[in-house]
């Protein structure tokens, strides 16, 4: 999930699928009825859903692909892949999966450097491309961590936007087989005294805190930065870290012909299907007004139950594959799991438990409802999985089966509305080498050097400067924020705020633990994105190192303006090159991260803001070095220039 504008939607289909073997739901809610078959239905498309058969017979029907964010050539390619026009549901799925956010179409060519320049490592069990990077830290244990942005939603509805940002990154960690053990948050707002900051900041902080606290995850650090460039576009970057026994590592491949596809967790509603409403308005004359973009609302209690249920399922060895449902909902989970295994799937969309029975197939496929996971389960183990779900009070519904057809086939009310090669959605999206140009004002900015500023000359001036700095929003005490976060829960927090890094004990017996820091500096990156990215890396690396930990891995959240602006693209390319080079020099790999483009207000992009997280390992957390003076008479030594 990120700040990129949402797109989406279409539908399609041909032929039918038959349905899923089993259906069970847990008693978490009272609202009855998981299958929408009994729904009072608004007429869809006049004569019914836009099926694959219909798409084949109406090749010239106009489709709102431009409104969904697809270009002419992208739409043409979809038609070529399918050999017909896409159905409405299919169009929705391509527009989602080929969006910047899901396909990384503008960033892919640059991000390759992270892998190319990464040092050889045999402790990296999963890297870029997985839900989160996984690093082995002892014979038996591994750690997984990742940062992600939820910028735009946090501007629209600060509390829920930030809350669901935390929820989303935690599910990524969970999907790797790990128990999430901590979160961090890096926040950027407009000017501290701007009236809208008063709306955004408290909401974001209560959202981050509310969700993390209710999940029982200690918050062990982060940043709060103010700069007018973030006024209309705050940055909410959340990091989560988890720990797993090495042999519990999960993957997302929907392997095994005949295996059952189970949706676990919350019901599906019209959350975050703003982009898709384009399709609604294209096909409905009346009533589409109520279908406007719907904010995603988080339910941390449901997520806590989901975590416990998943961990129990992992430990009992009940599943073949798992994927979290994030920004692109079922569309992404179904196509990625099938594509990762090179398999097909037959899914009966009628079985998805819905919050609103009147939802259309494209809405179900595009919904960003939170607190859901997709499981791939051998038929013999389905009952055991359903029993675990029942125990924890979360819904579990078999939606269909894995096939060897190589096609993702989705039916709705007995008709096939999607029939596509899953790889065309998940892996074969467009890739662009966008034009790049150094911003023309850069020379001027760089010429305006700090040396030209007046320096305090007298004791009074110096005193005044120090006081002004200490009181400035970017340097002042952050307790108002950090007090709203639980840093004690789980009982393994060794260092948290106000320390430079969070330090968490992993193994109570040996004292094995990890250190984490999350840092960025958009102002510096604006002046020099290459070195700005390196600087963020160096800061996080130093923060981890000074606790006594050995830095072992990097995650990042790359927050930039529009990639269609060549100067932004240049900033991005430079920052990626800087981060990749920095990691190469330090000898640690980037194991995962997130790109958030389109962070701008009108034509004005934010400062390029690469935020970098570094993970370190400590063999005995009792030896950690806290900051601050510990005893009278200690000697101060300044290292470096």
């Amino acid at each position: 999930m990120t700040a990129t504008p949402r797109t989406n939607e279409t539908s399609a289909a041909a032929e039918r699928v038959d349905n899923a073997p089993a259906e069970a739901e847990a008693p978490a809610t009272v609202e009855a009825g998981s299958a929408p078959a009994d729904a009072g239905v608004a007429p869809y498309y006049g004569e019914g859903p836009d099926t694959v058969a219909r798409a084949a017979s109406t090749p010239d029907e106009e489709q709102p692909f431009l409104e969904l964010g697809l270009r002419d050539d992208e739409y043409a390619r979809i038609r070529q892949i399918l050999g017909r026009r896409p159905t409405q549901a299919e169009l929705a799925m391509y527009s989602i999966m080929w969006s910047e956010h899901c396909s990384y179409k503008s960033s892919k060519v640059h991000l390759r450097q992270f892998s190319e320049k990464a040092p050889k490592s045999d402790t990296m069990l999963a890297g870029i491309g997985e839900n989160a990077g996984v690093v082995q830290i002892s014979e038996k244990l591994a750690v997984t961590f990742k940062a992600e942005s939820h910028n735009h939603p946090s501007f629209v509805e600060p509390h829920q936007g930030a809350a669901t940002g935390v929820g989303g990154i935690v599910r990524d960690i969970l999907a790797m087989g790990a128990r999430p053990i901590a979160v961090m948050d890096s926040l950027r707002f407009g000017a501290a005294d701007h009236p809208d900051t008063k709306r955004v900041l408290p909401g974001v902080v209560s959202g981050v805190g509310g969700y993390g606290n209710c999940l029982g995850l200690p918050n062990v650090g982060g940043e709060v930065v103010f700069d007018p460039c973030y006024q209309g576009n705050p940055l909410v970057n959340a990091l989560s870290v988890g720990v797993l026994p090495v042999d519990r590592l999960q993957n997302k491949a929907a392997a095994g012909n005949g295996n059952v596809v189970i949706l676990l967790g919350a019901k599906t509603g019209r959350d975050g299907i703003g982009g898709v409403s384009v399709l609604a308005s294209a096909t409905f004359d009346a009533g589409s007004e109520t279908r406007r973009p719907s904010v995603q609302v988080g339910d941390p209690f449901m997520e806590k139950l989901l975590i416990e249920a998943c961990l129990e399922v992992y430990d009992a060895g009940l599943i073949v594959g798992i994927q979290d449902l994030g920004g692109a909902g079922l569309t992404c989970a179904l196509s990625e799991t099938a594509a990762a295994a090179g398999n097909g799937m037959e899914i009966n969309l009628d079985l998805v438990p819905l919050r609103e029975p009147s939802m259309e197939p494209h809405e179900v496929l595009a919904s960003e409802s939170q607190e859901r996971m997709l499981l791939i389960v051998e038929p013999a183990k389905v009952d055991a999985v359903l029993a675990v779900a029942q125990k924890w009070g979360v819904w579990a519904t078999a939606l269909g089966t894995v096939t060897d057809s190589g096609r993702l086939v989705i039916t709705w009310r007995g008709e096939t509305v999607v029939d596509v090669p899953p790889g065309s959605l998940a892996d074969d999206g467009p890739v662009y080498a966008r034009p790049m140009r150094e911003p023309s004002d850069l020379i001027l900015l760089q010429a305006d050097r700090a040396e030209t500023l007046p320096r305090p000359k007298t004791g009074d001036e110096l005193r005044e400067t120090v006081l002004r700095l200490a009181a400035s929003p970017n340097l002042c005490d952050k307790t108002w924020v950090t007090e709203q976060y639980d840093r004690y829960v789980l009982g393994n927090t060794v260092l948290a705020q106000p320390e430079d890094s969070g330090v968490i004990r992993i193994d109570e017996e040996s004292g094995l633990g990890i250190a984490l820091s999350l840092d960025g500096n958009g102002r510096f990156a604006r002046l020099d994105p290459y070195n700005g990215a390196k600087l963020a890396l160096a800061e996080a690396y130093r923060n981890v190192a000074v606790t006594g930990a050995t830095p072992v891995a990097v995650t990042d959240c790359l927050n930039f303006g529009s990639p269609e602006d060549p100067t932004v693209m240049w900033q991005f390319a430079e920052a990626v090159r800087g981060l990749a080079d920095g990691c190469q020099e330090l000898g640690i790999p980037v194991t995962g991260g997130n790109v958030s483009f389109y962070n701008q207000t009108g034509a004005a992009p934010i400062n390029p803001t690469p935020v970098v997280g570094v993970l370190g390992v400590m063999s005995d957390v009792a030896k950690r070095v806290p900051m601050g003076f510990s005893a009278d008479g200690d000697v101060l030594i300044l290292l470096g220039q």
């Binding site: 339910d299 209690f301 609103e356």
Partner: protein, 84 residues
């Protein structure tokens, strides 16, 4: 002196985790015939003089409800009517 009552509810399409949790707990109390529970806010604004519906609407709009996810209704209530 009079009172304006504002009820603020999540829009129907927005997830209501509170209501869901309560609904889920009812079977434990032996109650099975409830289809759904939705939970919102009930706000009583007392004015110094007359009940001022326009002012109340302004307060609801700016402070009490979040228009992105919530709707509200307003009504004037006579003050004799005691609670409960």
């Amino acid at each position: 002196m009079a009172r304006v009552v504002v009820d603020v509810m999540l829009k129907p399409e927005i997830l209501d985790p509170q209501g869901q949790a309560v609904a889920g707990a009812l079977p434990q109390l032996g109650i099975g015939n409830v289809r759904s529970v939705r939970i919102g806010k009930h706000i009583e604004i007392e004015f110094d003089g007359e009940a001022d519906l326009d002012r109340a609407r302004e307060i609801a709009d700016k402070l009490l409800a979040n228009p992105v996810i919530e709707d509200f209704t307003l009504r004037v209530e006579e003050l004799e009517e005691a609670d409960q």
